[in-house]
Symmetry: C2
């Protein structure tokens, strides 16, 4: 698979990043949003597994490299202005969030407040053994 | 509805923005990704219709104010680190993209190239009558 072609039409921002949304390929639930630089996008296309760029750690990473919660990419789409991608992914372990929940979007706005709506499926300490995601 | 409370736990970036994803409330298709400032997020919660912040025009806007393609919000969620929201929305007219397509994510990565996958449902000129979205 060409890893150069994929950059055509992609408009990275002033930090060299695009927004990347991971959506469960079956339920279509949005599991997380993160960032990709050119290398992460290329690696994602090349390997078929989601790679992101960590702004805090300033490096590209394979999602699940420590937790095992990898994301196999079934479909990759780019938006009209080229600054965001959506992936339909198969979430290994059923957990995308570093808090041990299925999705990072577990806070729901109801009756004038944010409520935690989803259960923790696995404790953070058990996922990472004390390491940072 | 309290419009102050909604800002609690939301972490706006250095430009005062959070990433906002609009997903069809029934098919769960991701229709678009844009940005919200505090005012847009508050207006969204207050009115029940998606408001965004345009980085190019540097102003808050009601999605659909010119096109009529408003987005009625059925559910609003915030992610673990508070810098992104996902909305389940009802897309008026069935068109979210300024190109006249259902979704902004109409380019699909297949066989080493980006392909346009979705039809134009309405011409841009007919949507905006020559005006900018």
């Amino acid at each position: 698979m060409s890893i150069e072609t994929i950059l055509q039409g992609v408009k990275f921002d002033e930090k060299g990043l695009v927004c990347a949304i991971a959506q469960d390929w079956q339920s279509k639930r949005v599991l997380m949003v993160a960032w990709m630089n050119a290398e992460a996008l290329q690696k994602t296309a090349e390997t078929g597994f989601a790679h992101y760029y960590s702004r805090s750690r300033q490096k590209q990473w394979l999602k699940g490299e420590e937790s095992g919660h990898t994301q196999k990419v079934h479909e990759l789409r780019l938006d009209c202005d080229g600054d965001a991608v959506v992936m339909l992914i198969e979430q290994n372990g059923g957990i995308a969030c570093h808090t041990g929940r299925e999705s990072c979007f577990y806070k729901i706005w109801q009756n004038g407040a944010w409520h935690t709506a989803d259960p923790v499926l696995k404790n953070e300490a058990d996922i990472y053994g004390g390491k940072h995601p």
